[in-house]
């Protein structure tokens, strides 16, 4: 790992200032897992590292009196996964946090870090490939190995966003707070992510000097039974792996009839991929094997596989179908038909 200056700001203002002063050559250290990995692979070589952990109060998980939830950017994935009320009211979020990496990763990895982590694409991570995202002129997946890459929303880069937490949080209608030199922004998490057709050098709207400080979720409970959610992650290897495909589903149900739905996929697109097609296929319908399968088909209707990743289409269809059925307590979709 290259040498760097180490900055421990006392507060957010100092942190944003240090980052802004670094003019793109300063990096934020939260859990450090992705950052140090990138630095060791020499994908980035920041001149300065700003340790956010010296800023107090960014690791809180707290419910507001109105039932909404705020999760500090430095809350660890382990603390999110283990929070009892969070787990009851936003099961998809807890399940997603629990599905990340291993115990050692979850103990250190943070919510902010998970949301802002860079792609796992092997060309992006290869020090020997100067790909589109690193200022090169080709996305190597288009001529090379694409088994872990995008089937939706790709072009000109075909990375997939690796976060497990992001689809779950978006399904639960999360907003994200960003503090920067120009003040504080608060926006739907869904809008935090941008496709490579919009921006190539990063997967989010973050500008130099900006720091994610918090994620907030609207109250889950309500008189009509509230929102039910579920996160399913499929990996090639159960022990410690990124998602091939993940799906987060949040439903408002009246009886078995769905009044509102969010279906968000991970591992299939350069951003967490909200499928309004799937959502409209089930809203105002009762959830059963047929409607769930229809929604799943709708979600993948526009998928365009690359040379080595066509398998993600049936895989994603299965996961969406199962997530919908399980969320609506309509079985697991696993029984003999």
């Amino acid at each position: 790992m290259r040498r760097f200056a180490f900055i421990e700001p006392p507060d957010l203002a100092a942190a944003t200032e240090a980052l802004a002063r670094g003019a793109g050559k300063a990096a934020i250290l939260a859990g450090g897992l992705d950052l140090l990995g990138e630095m060791k692979d020499r994908i980035i070589e920041p001149a300065a590292v700003v340790n956010l952990k010296t800023v107090r109060g960014l690791d809180a998980i707290r419910f507001e009196p109105d039932g909404s939830l705020r999760i500090g950017a430095l809350a660890t994935l382990a603390s999110v996964a283990a929070h009892p009320r969070l787990g009851r009211e936003y099961p998809a979020v807890a399940q997603a946090a629990q599905s990340v990496g291993s115990v050692e990763i979850r103990n250190v990895g943070t919510v902010g870090g998970n949301l802002c982590q860079r792609p796992r694409c092997w060309y992006y991570r290869s020090p020997l490939h100067k790909c589109l995202k690193k200022g090169g002129d080709v996305c190597f997946t288009t001529v090379g190995q694409s088994r872990y890459h995008a089937i939706l929303g790709g072009g000109p880069s075909y990375i997939v966003h690796p976060s497990d937490l992001a689809p779950a949080l978006i399904a639960c209608d999360a907003r994200i707070t960003v503090v920067g030199p120009d003040g504080t922004k608060d926006l739907p998490l869904e809008q935090f992510y941008v496709l490579p057709s919009v921006r190539l050098d990063h997967e989010t709207i973050l500008k130099p000097g900006e720091i994610v400080t918090e994620v907030s979720l609207p109250a889950s409970a309500s008189a009509d039974g509230g929102t039910r959610s579920r996160f399913l992650k499929f990996r090639e290897k159960d022990s410690f792996d990124f998602a091939l495909v993940s799906v987060a589903v949040a439903l408002r149900l009246q009886g078995n009839s769905c009044s509102a739905a969010r279906v968000v996929l991970g591992g299939v697109a350069p951003t967490p991929w909200r499928s309004k097609e799937a959502e409209s296929a089930i809203v105002d319908r009762s959830i059963g094997p047929r409607s769930a399968a229809k929604a799943a088909a709708a979600a993948l209707a526009d998928a365009s596989p690359m040379s080595h990743n066509e398998y993600k289409i049936p895989l994603a269809r299965t996961l969406i179908t199962r997530a919908l059925l399980e969320t609506a307590d309509q079985g697991t979709g696993l029984a003999p038909s």
């Binding site: 040498r3 507060d11 897992l33 010296t54 800023v55």
Partner: protein
Amino acid sequence: MARLVKRRVNARPRRRAGILARQAGRRPGPVDPHRRVFLRLHVNGADHTIAVAPHRTLLEILREDLGLTGTKHGCELGECGTCTVLLDGIPVLSCLALGLECDDRPVVTVEGLADGPTPHPLQEAFTELGAAQCGYCTPGILCAAKALLEADPDPNRDAIREALSGNLCRCTGYIKIFEAVELAAKRRREPRAAPSRETLFGRRD
């Protein structure tokens, strides 16, 4: 590289409020990349003050500055779990932790698992059941397993699998490791608990 001060302190790790507890501003200015700063490390109950540069990882400091080579290099990228140590009592990957982040926090490595001359029940069980084969992954697995037993004194097989899922072993097939963790858990309740006959001798029918 200098080990400047080493003194014995109260072996009981200080209870800490969490990773954010450290007062901000102890190092008010940036630490220059080529300069070293003093770092206080509490490792296995001993207190060390050493000078380190910002880019050095906990793994490097443990092995190279403190001579604690029990913790191993495996992949350097957080993919194998071989470098697992306990920081504030919880398992972390020492290859992806900067030394400066560990200032004034208790670290436990494989060398610190025993209680003086008495091995930790996990160490005993791993030896007895052959859970350490080539032994290279063993220090990290022992640390992860210790944290598991602290949190869950009677873990079932699934909990053990989950707790150790970040630790690769290329030799044992994990079975003896699971059995050793189970035996150690049992021994913490009944010190004279014996492994099942099948564990030791396999099936002979």
